[in-house]
Structure formats: structure tokens, C-alpha cells
Symmetry: C2
Subunit: 182 residues, 2 copies
């Protein structure tokens, strides 16, 4: 089962209260309490067996469509390879796209870490919303501390020196003004 513009099999759809990218928090970890639901498509429900025993999961999402209100071209145009990330909008500093977590990527695949609340049939209730309602989900992987947590306190580039207020949205991050503090 595919969705126009998404070159993958869509296994589920994210249901959230967010309607557009600009007013959606930029990262699930910055918005950990807001709840959403993954509605799995019937053929894939069986693949959820065992997932309820994990506290967290990675959602891989397709950001080529639901992130904008425009029709999705079958081959999305390549975004600029240097961009101003949402969190750097106040200063206008550019970064290479592979040093950002933003949605305008060569392959617009999102990676969201969410907390699993409950799995009931084909519905996965989660906390940690950074996805617009209707975003196609193309993979879910369990969070495994042994695999996913590097030792110590790694350097995190430009993220180490910018404010990251709770629930901040792109719309709140505008050129020239500092982002609001949480």
C-alpha cells in the first residue's frame, strides 16, 4: 500500500492535533507530553507483536507530503544542501543539511523518538509529538539502550549552543528575534 508521493509502503498514519509544520514542535523530545496515535494499516498489525514491552520507539516518517499543504510532486525537488535550521532562524546561520534534523532533506525521512503508552489492536498511543496529522509512517523500530545510547556526553555541534525551549515551533523562531525561553 503506497501513498501518492511516498516511494515506500506506508505502514501507518500518525494522528495528532497538529495541522501544519510551522505550528508543530520541532522535536518530540521538546514536546514529550503531547499525545498522538499511530493508526496501523490492517496488513501490518501483526508486526507490532512484542512492541508493547518497550518504553520507547523510533518512528521513521515520510516528510515529503503531509508537511506542506501543496500537492506532493512524485519526485520532490532537491532541497538546498545548506539551510538555516528552524532553531538557528533567529541568527540566520546556515548548516549542511546532514548536520541538521530538519524536514527538508534529500530524502525527506523523519526520525522521531516517542514514548509508547498503549498498543490496542492497530492503534499505538504515544507521547512526544513532532509530526503533523496525517504524516505517513514507513517504519517503527524499538528503542534499545544498548544500541542507541552512545557513552558519555557526546559533542552535538551547533545544538550545544542554541536554546531549545520546550514545545518550540518553527513559527516562534523568526529571523532576528531570540527564541522564547521555556
Amino acid at each position: 500500500m503506497t501513498q501518492a508521493g511516498c516511494p515506500f509502503t506506508v505502514i501507518a498514519v500518525a494522528r495528532t492535533d497538529r495541522r501544519d509544520r510551522e505550528s508543530t514542535p520541532v522535536q518530540s523530545a521538546l514536546n514529550p507530553d503531547e499525545r498522538g496515535t499511530l493508526e496501523f494499516r490492517a496488513p501490518y498489525e501483526e508486526g507490532l507483536a512484542g512492541l508493547a514491552e518497550f518504553d520507547h520507539a523510533w518512528l521513521l516518517s515520510w516528510l515529503g507530503g503531509a508537511e506542506t499543504s501543496e500537492p506532493t510532486p512524485l519526485t520532490p525537488p532537491t532541497p538546498p544542501l545548506r539551510q538555516v535550521p528552524f532553531l538557528l532562524r533567529p541568527g540566520g546561520r546556515e548548516m549542511g543539511v546532514f548536520a541538521t534534523r530538519g524536514p527538508r532533506r534529500v530524502n525527506p525521512i523523519g526520525l522521531s523518538l516517542v514514548r509508547i503508552l498503549e498498543i490496542a489492536g492497530r492503534q499505538v498511543r504515544f507521547a512526544g509529538v513532532d509530526l503533523v496529522d496525517g504524516t505517513p509512517i514507513i517504519d517503527v523500530k524499538p528503542y534499545v539502550t544498548r544500541f542507541d545510547r552512545p557513552p558519555g556526553e557526546p559533542r552535538c555541534g551547533w545544538f550545544d549552543s542554541v536554546p531549545m525551549p520546550a514545545r518550540v515551533t518553527p513559527a516562534e523562531l523568526t529571523d532576528g528575534s531570540p527564541p522564547p525561553r521555556s
Copy 2:
């Protein structure tokens, strides 16, 4: 630029000393010292600006092709939704695919956490190898502790109760015998 069987733009290719899936460690975190290189394709080099300031990065890879020696069909067949993960081969227990980290997925996208050693032009040297040589890379994202590390010690399902020896490969995990201890 695309590659037969991969529905994305391939931004880079992983160069490692591993030639097939069965003899490649199952996770980069279990093989943190082995080194590899990402060879970025020329049009995407600019997207690396800023990445050297991060200690770790996520590699999103396309596992539909290089993981097997067989020709890749344009539409890979859907894998079983319940599978025996590599690490559960000794006991033969099945899990839903979305509760595993294995490569046979509905959309065969791999997620590897690697340590960045050096970036020189289009070459990204890294440590932490779980990819077969030639695996197409479809995205690179910086590891950001604030986004990617859940608080506390989360439950990690069946991974919490299986041995995960250093550098273990699928070939070492066979039905009926316990995996080797590191």
C-alpha cells in the same frame, strides 16, 4: 542519483570490510571499534558542512540490495511480519518485525549509530560497523543527546533478556546453540 532497487536518492555508499550480512556484526554499538568510510556522492558534499562538530551520527541505509547477493527486485517482497531476530535464533522465538531491529523490514531502512572520526572532502571516516560494503546511504542525521536520549533506563523488551556479545554476527547465532559470550 538512484540505484537499482532503491526508491531514493543515494547520497553516499558505505565502504567496509564486510562482504555479506551473515558475517557482519548485527549492530554498530556491538562493534564500536571497527572502521568504515562513507563515500559521499559529489552533489551532496556540501550537505556535510557542520557535521564534523558532532561526535556521533545516525546513518539511514537502504538494506534492500547490498544485504543479499541476489539481484534486487524493484519491489522487494514483503518480509514475514513475525520473524526470528538474529539475536533470538538460538531459541527460535518470533517477534513482530516492528519490535526488532533486523534488516528484513516492510521498508528495509537501516538505522546505525556511528562515531564520526574525520571528514575530509567527500569521505566520512567512522567507527561502528554493521553495514555490508556497498550499502547505499540515504540520509545522515547528527546525534543530538537532547533529542535522542530518553530519560532514565527504559524497558527494552526482549533485548533486556538476551546476551548481546561484542561483534556477534548472524552466522554465529544458530538455532539451538547459545550465542558466544564476549
